[in-house]
């Protein structure tokens, strides 16, 4: 199967990933619930993955380093989500809140 990608310019993939990344940045900065911040981080990681795969397919189809990188991004994201959710559960148990602006013991 020849990839359908040949009819779509590379820039379209890049702009799409830019939009998704900016939405993720907005979510990380504007939300105060820790789980919602984590969801926005997932959006940003996905945008980066799109970028990697698009570059791999368009510019270096024989070595596909970008595809391997995307696999590793997904792996690390899974580890990160598990760990972050454990921390959020812990904070909720100790402080009865999951909002990041209410966890300010280190602030003085």
């Amino acid at each position: 199967m020849e990839a359908a990608a040949e009819q779509i310019p590379l820039e379209h993939f890049l702009v799409l990933s830019g939009i998704l990344f900016s939405l993720g940045v907005y979510g990380v900065l504007a939300r105060r619930n820790a789980v919602l911040i984590l969801m926005s981080v997932e959006l940003m990681l996905n945008a980066v993955s799109i970028n990697m795969v698009a570059f791999a397919v368009y510019t270096a189809p024989s070595s596909f380093v970008g595809i391997i990188f995307a696999v590793f991004i997904i792996t690390v994201a899974a580890a990160e989500v598990g760990l972050a959710l454990g921390i959020i559960l812990r904070i909720y148990r100790n402080r009865a809140t999951a909002n990041v602006d209410e966890v300010d013991q280190l602030k003085w």
């Binding site: 359908a4 959006l43 760990l83 921390i87």
Partner: protein
């Protein structure tokens, strides 16, 4: 406009709609469901880019496991029961920062002339990816498994209820 372009714009609209739902909607459970929509759309993009392996991994790990985990924590932290604003007072600054970033990115994307080798775009078979993962990328692969193991043990240790607590 060809069929492939139409499919691309459909999938891209789904991905952006899902992303906007995640950051703008006021119900946390709906935000998680919008995240699933966005992740599935990204899996569709991977299929469009002829990397079926990544699409399968995306659906299995992201849309399957990660979002279920997020929904579990939403349930356990009772984020729905608290009638508080989900957004902080820094919202306008956040919107400004994100819009600036988007503007810079799009300006850069449209001004650069990207190298293009489209004549050789073809499907990457599963066995070739597996071969590369276990030969050329064997050490990073093993380190990734170690990272997963450490994260697993660490998450259990952190989230566990201790005696006398």
């Amino acid at each position: 406009m060809t069929a492939a372009q139409g499919i691309f714009y459909l999938i891209a609209a789904g991905a952006v709609l899902g992303g906007m739902g995640v950051v703008f909607v006021h119900n946390v459970v709906y935000a998680a469901l919008f995240l699933i929509l966005s992740l599935l759309a990204v899996a569709g993009l991977y299929i469009l880019l002829a990397t079926e392996f990544l699409a399968l991994v995306q659906i299995l790990i992201y849309a399957g496991a990660v979002t279920i985990l997020l929904l579990f924590v939403l349930m356990l932290t009772r984020a729905r029961d608290v009638p508080l604003a989900l957004d902080g007072p820094q919202k306008p600054v956040a919107a400004l920062a994100a819009a600036t970033l988007l503007g810079v990115l799009i300006a850069m994307f449209s001004q650069t002339s990207w190298p293009r080798d489209a004549g050789q775009v073809s499907r990457v078979p599963f066995d070739v990816i597996g071969d590369a993962l276990f030969r050329r990328w064997a050490v990073p692969f093993e380190i990734a498994s170690l990272v997963l193991l450490v994260a697993l043990v660490g998450a259990i240790v952190i989230a566990r209820v201790e005696e006398g607590e």
